[in-house]
Symmetry: C2
Subunit: 342 residues, 2 copies
Amino acid sequence: MIPSIEWLEEEKKVKMIDQTILPHELKFLEFGDYRDVANSITVMNIRGAPAIGAAAAMGMALATIEYKELPKDKFLEKMDEAADYMKAARPTASNLFWAVNRIMKIVKNSSGTPPEISEEVIEEAQLVAQEDVNVNKSLGKHGAKILDDGDTVLTHCNAGSLATVQYGTALAPVRAAIEQGKNISVIADETRPRLQGARLTAYECQYDNIPVNVIADNSAGLLMRLGKIDKVIVGTDRVSSDAVFNKIGTYHVALAAKDNDIPFYVACPTSTLSLEDTVDDVEIEQRDPSEVGRILGKVQAVPEGVKCLNYAFDITPFRLVTGIITEDGIFTPEEMLKKYKQ
Amino acid sequence: MIPSIEWLEEEKKVKMIDQTILPHELKFLEFGDYRDVANSITVMNIRGAPAIGAAAAMGMALATIEYKELPKDKFLEKMDEAADYMKAARPTASNLFWAVNRIMKIVKNSSGTPPEISEEVIEEAQLVAQEDVNVNKSLGKHGAKILDDGDTVLTHCNAGSLATVQYGTALAPVRAAIEQGKNISVIADETRPRLQGARLTAYECQYDNIPVNVIADNSAGLLMRLGKIDKVIVGTDRVSSDAVFNKIGTYHVALAAKDNDIPFYVACPTSTLSLEDTVDDVEIEQRDPSEVGRILGKVQAVPEGVKCLNYAFDITPFRLVTGIITEDGIFTPEEMLKKYKQ
C-alpha cells in the first residue's frame, strides 16, 4: 500500500500519486502552490472523498506559507480567497468543504501571528491525513465482521487505498478481513466513464495481492443472479439525510443487489456525512462529455458530431442500503441518522 | 438507412457492412464461402438477432452452391455439416437456429435435384431477408402507438437497422413515430464492453437524422430519476417462456425503469420467440475477456495480469417487462404467452 498523498515537511510540498496515468505508470507529482493542488483535484490526479480532504488541507497549508509574511488582516483575507478557490475544485466532494472549513477554523480562531498560524495549519493538515488512516483502519475492523471466509465482494469505482490517504474505505473491510486470515476476493466494476475500477481498484488489489476480477459495469446484476457475488461494498462522496451520493452507476448496483437479496453496504467515514442536506440540496456534477465519447482520451467510440451526457454521481436512496459502515460501527440508515444527526 | 446485409444474385455472394469498424468507416464485406459467413457472425462483422438470421440463411444458400454438383445423398450429408457449422457461430442467437432450420427443412423436404434445391434455398434466403424488413415495419407501426410527441426513448445496445436487414426492431417504433410526424429523440446506452450503442445506434441515428445522445451505461438510472427518459425500448436475442435474453446490462436498465415507473418494452419479432425454453435452458455466452480489459482492442484499461469476466447476455425476468412488441401488436408477457405458446 503506497500512500496516495504525503506532506513533505522539508520541501514544504504536497506529494501525490498521479492517478490519471495508473495503472500503466506509477508517477508522483509534487506541488508547492495551493492552486496546483486545487487543479489536481479538478483534473483528478487525486480523487476519492477522503484523499481529496487531505489534499485540500495540505493545499491550505501551502496557502498559509505563501501568505504568512503579510500583515494579519491581509493574511486572513488571502486565506479566505484560498478557501473559496479550493472549495470550487470539485463541488460534489463534501470532504473538500469539511477539510477547508476545519483549516479555516484554526486560521480564524488562532491568536497567533501568520507564521505561527501557518505552523499550526501544517500540523493540522498532517493530522487530517493521519486521522484518515486511523479512521479507515477502524472502519475496516468493523466492516470485516460482515465478511465470511470465501466471500466475493463487488465494489464500484475505487474507494480503496488510492481514494484515501491509505487503507481505503470500501476496501478497508476487505483488507481487514484478509489480515484476519479470511479468503476474500474482489470483483471490480470497471466504472465507466473514467474506469477507476478497471484502472485503480484492479491496480491496488494486484499490488497488495488481493484476488481481483474486473467486469463491465453492465454485468454486476447477472453475476449476482449466478451466485458469484456475496456482498457489495461501495464508498461514498456524500451521505445526506436520505440518500448516498457516489460514482455514477452505484444506483444500478444497489437495485441489482436488492433484487437478488445481496447485502449492499456503504463504507463512510463520519467526515463524509452531510446529514443536514437532503437529496434536493445536492446538484449532480456534469463532467466533460468527451470522457464518454473518447475513452481515456484515446479511443473515439462515438461518431464525430454525436453528443454525450456525462453525469458524474449517482443517487442511491436509503431504502436500497443494507448498512453504513463508519469508524464507529455498522448501522442501518435509520440507526445512522439516530446516532449522527443532530 | 443502408441494408446491413444483401444477397448479390449475379455474383452469388453475401454482401454486408463490417460493423466492427463503424462508426469510423463504412466498409462492405463480400463472402462466397459459408464458413466465412459463419465467421462473420462469430467475430460480429454482422450482429443483431434478425440480421444474423438473414446472414445464416444466405450462408446456407452459399453452402448449397458449393455442394450442388454432389450426388443427392452426399449433398444432404454435406448440408447437415454446414448446418451444424453455422449454428455453432453464435450460441445465444435463436434466430440463427431458426434460420438454419428453416433452410434445412427445404433441403430435406424437397424432391428436387441438388441444383434445384440450391435455387429454392437461394430464393428462401432472400425471402428471409425481405420478411425481416416487412416484420420490422409492422412491428414499428404497432410500437409507435406507445410513443408520444416529444418522448425521449432510451435503448440499450443496437437493435436498429444495423441489427436487422433494415429498419430495426427497438428503433422501428422510433422510426415509425417520426414518420408519423412525432418529435422523438433517442438516448443510447454506450453498451460496454463492445460499445454497440456508442458506435452503431449513434451512427445510424445520426445517419438518419434521429436526434441522439450517448451515455455511459451507468447513468441510465439517474437520467430516469431526473425525468430525462420517457420510455425504454430494447431488442432481444431470445425470449423464453419466462425471461428476455438481451445484451448484458439490459437487466440493470429494466430494474431502473421499474424503480422509476418508466415503461420498459421489448421489441421482438416472433422469429425471436423461443417459448419452449425456460431461463434454465439457456447458457449465457462468455466472450473473450480482453473485450473488457482492452477497449475496442486499442486501449488497455486494466493492469496487465488482472483477469476480466465477460458475460455477453443478460436475463431480464418478465416481471420487469411492461410489454413485448411483435409484428402482430403489443402484449404483456402473459398475453404474449397466451398468443404464441403452444
